[in-house]
């Protein structure tokens, strides 16, 4: 039975469960829903949930566990002589998997019957040819023993699938019947549904948190590998970045970190004043009609993909800055520069700063403004001396959030700032950032065991620690600010 059909059956069982549960609850009180503990729909939902959720969970677990078990039993079949020189167990196993998938494809397309496939196992060359016809191309010749392993693989996977379908359906029916049997007027179906909702919500937030933890672990693990191959002292203290894909690279963090911080600094220099003033205008001066148009218009900026900003930097801002500032001032003649990337990134960050600050300024109680007006202060005096100081911690939080976004930005820098890793003060020089180098170290045909590739993870970890620190600081400041009015 295919997985799609199984899921469809489960859904049908759930729908049926809903109707049956509802019906049975109503029947138990002779149609007078007031005698039930919960509304009839809740009894229906209870049966539907009992029928589908445990079965779906079993299905999910099975799908994760079964391949691992099959893989282990097949690995045991592989003999040492099956692993040719230069190959490894992992590569052989992936061949087995591909052959098995190819055989499945043959069977599904109707190109060969099961009998023919079984016969082909004995003739590796013919098998290879047939597989190539279905689009599964194998480099090395197939060993007969490997083809047999693939056949076993297929058999075990198919058997597992059948057992799973049976088990899942049995569980679904059991849940269905159990829930239906438990229905009585005093059964608290409403509370059961409530608990299910709660578990669902907890599961959703756990996915987010567990993913974060997983990402951190993978970063730490790969960075650990990197530091086994390359001394940490050189990475953190060296001032040169010169990767060579033959070995003997200089992988110093500083030129990249400097580029990141320099570009982010210029971006904030652009975004903070403009964003803040826009926020003040929107929250304090703009009439509701203007605000209704202007606020979404500014937020549109946040919806533009950063690659589009990158193009803007490459095609418009870069040449403009070069022709009108860098060349006349004798500061360089590169259109890729820290300035270009910084200015464009600043424009991208304006809506972050303005939107967050606008919310924060709006949260300052009207009574403070009234107090200030009541003392004869003008609007701008009120904003400068009362509203702004009151909102300051929140605004600092907003700026830090914008900063952590600037640090993580990649596309604008690739297109706007260039790829040269240097330590320079001239903002019209091309420089590069940590994110850009992560991309360039991982693209292309590279081996995943050299320090030149693994350095990407160490860079990623550095960046992560940086932005995490900024975010924690921002959250701390914002929270402190909230307490002030509560």
């Amino acid at each position: 039975m295919s997985l799609g059909l199984l899921l469809l059956l489960l859904l049908a069982l759930g729908a049926l469960g809903f109707l049956a549960g509802r019906q049975r609850a109503l029947a138990a009180v002779r149609g007078d829903a007031r005698d039930l503990h919960s509304l009839p729909g809740y009894y229906g939902q209870t049966v539907a949930l009992f029928a589908t959720v445990p079965a779906l969970l079993l299905c999910l677990v099975w799908l994760v566990v079964q391949p691992a078990i099959v893989e282990r039993s097949i690995s045991a079949l592989i003999l040492p002589e099956d692993i040719t020189a230069g190959s490894s167990l992992v590569l052989v196993m992936s061949d087995v998997r591909r052959i098995a998938e190819g055989m499945d494809a043959l069977a599904v397309a109707g190109a060969a019957s099961e009998g023919e496939i079984a016969a082909l196992v004995g003739q590796p060359d013919a098998l290879k040819e047939r597989l190539a016809q279905t689009g599964v191309a194998l480099a090395a010749p197939i060993l007969p023993h490997i083809a047999e392993a693939a056949q076993v693989w297929r058999a075990q996977t198919a058997l597992g699938g059948q057992i799973m379908a049976a088990a899942v359906l049995a569980l679904a029916v059991a849940g269905f019947l159990l829930a239906l049997w438990r229905i009585a007027p005093e059964f608290r179906a409403r509370n059961v549904v409530e608990r299910f909702v709660r578990v669902l919500l907890v599961a959703a937030s756990s996915v987010a948190i567990l993913t974060t933890i997983g990402i951190i672990f993978s970063l730490v693990f790969e960075s650990w590998h990197f530091f086994q191959l390359y001394p940490a002292r050189d990475f953190f203290l060296s001032l040169t970045w010169a990767p060579k894909f033959g070995g003997g690279s200089d992988l110093g963090l500083w030129p990249l970190l400097w580029g990141t911080l320099y570009v982010s600094f210029i971006a904030l220099l652009v975004a903070v004043p403009i964003g803040l003033m826009a926020a003040i205008y929107l929250s304090e001066y703009a009439s509701p009609a203007v605000r209704a148009v202007a606020k979404p218009a500014i937020e549109v900026l946040a919806g533009i993909p950063s690659i589009v900003y990158g193009l803007f930097a490459l095609m418009t801002v870069g040449p403009f800055l070069r022709d009108w500032f860098a060349q006349p001032l004798g500061l360089g003649d590169s259109s890729s520069s820290v300035m270009t990337a910084g200015v464009v990134m600043g424009i991208m960050l304006i809506p972050y700063v303005s939107s967050l600050s606008d919310d924060i300024i709006n949260a300052v109680p009207q009574s403070l403004r009234d107090g200030s007006y009541g003392l004869g202060a003008t609007q701008s005096e009120t904003i400068r001396q009362v509203v702004f100081p009151a909102a300051l911690p929140g605004i600092v939080g907003a700026i830090l959030m914008a900063a952590s976004r600037a640090i993580g930005e990649t596309m604008i820098v690739v297109l706007g700032a260039g790829a040269a890793a240097k330590l320079d003060l001239n903002p019209f020089e091309a420089m590069t950032t940590v994110t850009v180098k992560i991309v360039s170290q991982l693209t292309g045909d590279t081996e995943f065991a050299s320090p030149e590739t693994l350095v990407a993870f160490a860079l990623g970890l550095t960046l992560f620690v940086f932005t995490l620190g900024l975010n924690i600081l921002a959250l701390y400041i914002v929270r402190k600010y909230r307490e002030q009015y509560e």
Partner: protein
């Protein structure tokens, strides 16, 4: 004070503020209908009436705080010392320095106690140096009967004070710009009885320097602190006169119904 209409209205000392035919609309809502009042100098005037009767609206006309509400429209004539305060030549910002206001909920700025009081004098340039500013802060806090409690911690944040202290800080803040009139919009409604008693005592002392207008929901409070009382009902000024007279011998049946607790 040579307004002819004034003499026929009230027979008394000097009127600080005279209001004639004041109407207020909030959008389509007619909040205040044709109100005539004379607010006397160096007197406490209480505005009483059920919620939504227009008393706070009228109070906010007196320092043009209604200007900050976009939908509000004020018509009629309000004069302070014979000058129409709605005249285009009058700067509402300057007016509010002369007509101070204390709000229902204490609203100290998130600044130090000192800076809260110094705020008004600073923006209006009232002090000619640090020493003079210190003096204004000290006198204002003394007038608001708060000096002894806070003199050792002027740098502490104003928001850290208790509710009653905060309200007295707001009064000190209003007093610091040397206003001629002090408007108080239910200044004790967020305070406990002890703090209320302190503020009431303070209001009585402030009367010596300027006229005080207080909006209150407590008739006992109106009777305790005011010399004159105005009763508002459904946007109309129903009755206005000496406090003792209003409370013992009201002319209008609606006033009597309100003070005896039958309406409102």
């Amino acid at each position: 004070m040579n307004d002819m209409r004034l003499t026929e209205k009230v027979v008394t000392e000097t009127a600080k503020i005279t209001a004639r035919g004041v109407q207020v609309h909030y959008g389509t809502n007619h909040a205040l209908k044709d109100v005539d009042v004379d607010i006397l100098d160096k007197t406490v005037t209480a505005f009483i009436g059920p919620s939504g009767c227009g008393k706070s609206t009228f109070l906010r006309c007196l320092n043009r705080m209604n200007d900050t509400v976009a939908s509000a429209r004020v018509t009629g004539r309000i004069e302070m010392d014979g000058q129409d305060i709605y005249d285009p030549r009058v700067d509402p910002v300057q007016l509010r320095a002369k007509v101070g206001m204390v709000f229902q909920k204490p609203n100290p700025f998130p600044k130090s106690i000192y800076d809260n009081v110094a705020y008004g004098p600073k923006i209006h340039g009232l002090a000619r140096g640090k020493a003079e500013l210190d003096e204004i802060v000290e006198t204002s806090l003394k007038k608001a009967a708060l000096w002894n409690e806070v003199k050792d911690r002027l740098a502490a944040p104003g928001t850290g004070l208790s509710g009653g202290q905060q309200q007295r800080l707001c009064i000190a803040r209003a007093v610091a710009t040397s206003p001629e009139v002090l408007l108080m919009d239910e200044p004790c409604s967020a305070l406990d009885p002890i703090a209320t008693a302190q503020v009431e005592e303070l209001i009585d002392e402030l009367r010596a320097q300027f006229s005080v207008v207080i909006v209150t929901h407590s008739m006992q409070q109106a009777a305790r602190v005011s010399q004159r009382t105005a009763f508002f009902h459904l946007g109309h000024l129903v009755e206005y006169g000496e406090t003792g007279h209003i409370f013992t011998n009201p002319t209008d049946p609606r006033t009597e119904a309100y003070i005896t607790g039958r309406i409102g």
